[in-house]
Amino acid sequence: MATAKVFDTYVDGLNDVLRAFRKLPKEASAELRDASQAVADKHMAPAWRQAANNYAGPWGQVIADSVKIKRDRVPAVNIGGARKKFSGGASPTMVRYLTDKGNRGRAGAQKRAPEAFGEGTNWMENVRQYQGGAMEEWAKAVDRIVLKWSYL
């Protein structure tokens, strides 16, 4: 599945931290994935779903339904999907970008953006309120797991 990645936060040394997890028992990484999933489930997914529902126009519900929690060591969600969900055959992925950027994006510049999307609502750039709580929770989980597995 082709994916595009975006990141909410840039953390110096994060790669080192994740790399160091390899030196801990496998259970530590599994626990980190569990914790990350929980954080994504609690903070990220609801925020993205709500934003899609509220600001992505008539396509919002389908986009919101496409928000899935990814199992990874860092909390993450997938938004979109390739399956056809609209009557015309469009998939959530096809409409996601257009609801956000509309004709201001590349599709607009190439005259390929349907007029129905207008200028878009920029909704994806405003879904960041969860970051403080999510990052706090995840950072605590990292601390807890590192501390725990460096003892046990």
Binding site: D16, W48, V77
Partner: protein, 636 residues
């Protein structure tokens, strides 16, 4: 955000991903900026691990810097002594220190230059004047300070060749006539005030902030070295006093991180005051907007006392920027300005382009920046005062974190003891009551005990996950033998939720009852403890001067983790201290390793327990392998 692909939003990524996109913009920032980037991450990795690890990293850098400075100072002081100016060493050091902050030229450059000029002039005052001129000339003529000082020194000795080769616009006749006064006058006329003007530019201010940060690190390292080497006298007394204050000042490494964070705020606040700097900042912020916003949010949310501090800092900054022009500290502290910046965020490519353009034009922006820095200087002063004020404010955060860590260590220690309580070589039955062999070898008996410990641990995990901590702790307190039987019964009969619920109720009842029965003497004890804490607080307040020295002495009060790390660093540098070196073998190369090691060492009372646990786990695994088991829960 590409079209036609499923989008994955990650909460966090390594800053290298940001760097890769912003490489050019990053190089536009001076060294201080780069140092700042390296601080951003650890502040986000949470309270226990990263703060400690960052403090360790800072301290290691600090030790190295302090050792280098010590060597430079020794060299200069020896020269002063040899020339009969030993009495002036303190004055010279103050002069160099002041000059570096006034000009943005580091003391590492100034000291050798001063030494060179002193050798030629044989006069401290003349050497100081010539050093001022050399700094002006080096900046104005774009030459290294070393070459200018060398040329001036040679000219003072009568050799004007090097001065002529500087191409600093000195008349050939002056060179030919070897007229030093005229040469000095001409250089002063041409380049006088260059250093001061340079220092007032945006780049100059950032450079000075960089020096301030380096000095902070040096101070930290100096304190650590002195902490290891001082044996008495004034320093010893101070050390004793600092030890007395340790309960309040533990985890100063974390505070150092906060101090550095303040400098970060200052740097960005300073940049935001200059139009071009602001443009650059906005470019970067709009690119990594969410990240920077989160720095403020995470600091506030994750570490409440520190968050309050940042909030207060943001408030002060807001007061300093009534026009709301700053995108720096306010943005970091409250996210308000950042929210606006984020809202106006363009796509990544456009933002990166803006940042790059801003970077390229930054160097041309000295005019506007100079005006801005006139306003900025008093603000920097306020910032310095804020840093001082910080010491008391972060105290609460440090002690809160420390107590949380201690609590967790205690818990881990207690739980490990519970699990291990069944390990007792004395109870292994090799002989029956009549003294005949039972057929069980010592090793077999020990393996059984180990096995019981492993099973017990698994039971406790299950009770914890399906029930709760109350049930887990209650069973853990029984030890492996009785605990395994009880746990098996509870699990087999499906009683975990019921037992947990009843246990919570009965504990609540017991606590309520116990609270009602607290004897008066205990209440008095609590009051006494509160009084003691207040006395300590008063003592801390009285020790303001000591706390001001903490920057220099803070190493003495750092946690054991840092001490161990520094010992390793010192040992690596040839200043072997012994002791913890073996524990720290293999210096931590990553944040997590550092955090892990820091925690291990910080919890050194539990180190033996940890080692035992690891050994037992290994033994369990080996035993499992021998018996072909897969580590599943076994019936007792």
């Amino acid at each position: 955000m590409a079209i036609g692909k499923t989008l994955t939003v990650y909460l966090a990524a390594d800053v290298s991903k940001l760097r890769s996109g912003l490489a050019q913009a990053e190089t536009g920032l001076s060294g201080f900026g780069n140092k700042l980037t390296s601080m951003i991450g650890p502040a986000l990795i949470g309270a226990t691990a990263a703060a400690g690890a960052f403090a360790v990293a800072l301290a290691v850098d600090g030790v190295q810097a302090a050792m280098a400075e010590e060597a430079e100072l020794t060299k200069l002081n020896t020269t002063l002594d040899n020339l009969g100016f030993g009495w002036a060493s303190e004055q010279v050091n103050t002069f160099v220190d002041d000059l570096q902050f006034a000009t943005g030229v580091t003391d590492s450059e100034l000291r050798p230059a001063f030494e060179r000029l002193l050798v030629s002039t044989g006069n401290v005052a003349k050497a100081q004047n010539l050093l001022n001129l050399a700094v002006d000339t080096s900046i104005g003529a774009n030459k290294s300070l070393e070459s200018v000082a060398n040329a001036l020194g040679k000219a003072y000795d009568g050799n004007f060749g090097a001065l002529g080769k500087l191409n600093a616009g000195i008349d050939a006749s002056i060179i030919k006539n070897k007229d030093l006064d005229a040469a000095v006058a001409q250089l002063s006329g041409t380049f006088g005030g260059q250093a001061a003007a340079q220092a007032e530019t945006l780049q100059g201010q950032i450079k000075i902030l960089g020096i301030a940060f380096d000095e902070l690190k040096e101070s930290l390292g100096k304190g650590l070295i002195e902490g290891f080497t001082s044996t008495g006298g004034g320093l010893g007394n101070l050390s004793v006093r600092m030890r007395d204050l340790q309960p309040q000042t533990e985890d100063l490494g974390k505070k150092a991180g906060i101090l550095a964070g303040n400098l970060l705020d200052a740097a960005f606040g300073a940049k935001s005051l200059a139009d071009k700097g602001n443009e650059l900042l906005q470019g970067i912020l709009s690119y990594g907007g969410p990240a920077f916003e989160l720095i403020g949010n995470a600091a506030i949310d994750a570490l409440n006392p520190i968050g309050q501090l940042i909030s207060s800092l943001a408030g002060v900054n807001k007061a300093l920027n009534p026009g709301g022009t700053s995108g720096g500290v306010t943005a970091f502290g409250t996210g308000g300005a950042m929210a606006r910046a984020t809202a106006s965020m363009k796509d990544v490519a456009a933002a990166a382009e803006t940042a790059q353009k801003a970077t390229s034009s930054l160097s041309k922006a000295t005019g506007g920046a100079s005006k801005a820095t006139e306003v900025m200087n008093p603000r920097l002063r306020v910032q310095i005062d804020l840093v001082k004020e910080l010491t008391s404010k972060v105290k609460d955060a440090g002690s809160a974190l420390e107590s949380a860590r201690r609590e967790m260590n205690n818990w881990i220690s207690g739980m490990a003891q519970n699990i291990l309580s069944g390990i007792d070589l004395g109870t292994i039955q090799q002989f029956d009551a009549e003294g005949k062999r039972t057929g069980q070898s010592l090793l077999d008996g020990f393996n059984k005990q180990i096995e019981q410990a492993g099973i017990f641990g698994n039971y406790l995990k299950q009770l914890n996950s399906e029930g709760g901590p109350e049930l887990r702790d209650a069973v853990a307190a029984l030890g492996p033998e009785a605990g395994n039987k009880l746990a098996k019964e509870i699990i087999d009969q499906g009683l975990i939720p019921t037992m947990q619920s009843k246990l919570v109720d009965v504990q609540h009842m017991a606590e309520t009852t116990a609270a009602e029965m607290v004897p008066p003497m205990l209440v008095a004890g609590v009051q006494s403890a509160a009084g003691y804490l207040m006395t300590m607080q008063a003592e801390l307040d009285e020790s303001t001067s000591l706390l001001e020295e903490m920057g220099r002495k803070m190493g003495k009060t750092l946690s054991d983790a840092m001490v161990a790390e520094i010992r390793a660093a010192l040992a690596a540098a040839g200043v072997a201290q012994g002791g913890a070196t073996s524990i720290m073998a293999g210096t931590a190369g990553t944040t997590a390793q550092a955090a892990s090691q820091a925690n291990l060492i910080a919890g050194s009372p539990f180190l033996n327990g940890t080692a035992i646990m690891q050994a037992i786990q290994n033994a369990i695994q080996q035993s499992d392998q021998r018996l072909g088991r897969t580590g599943q829960v076994l019936n007792a």
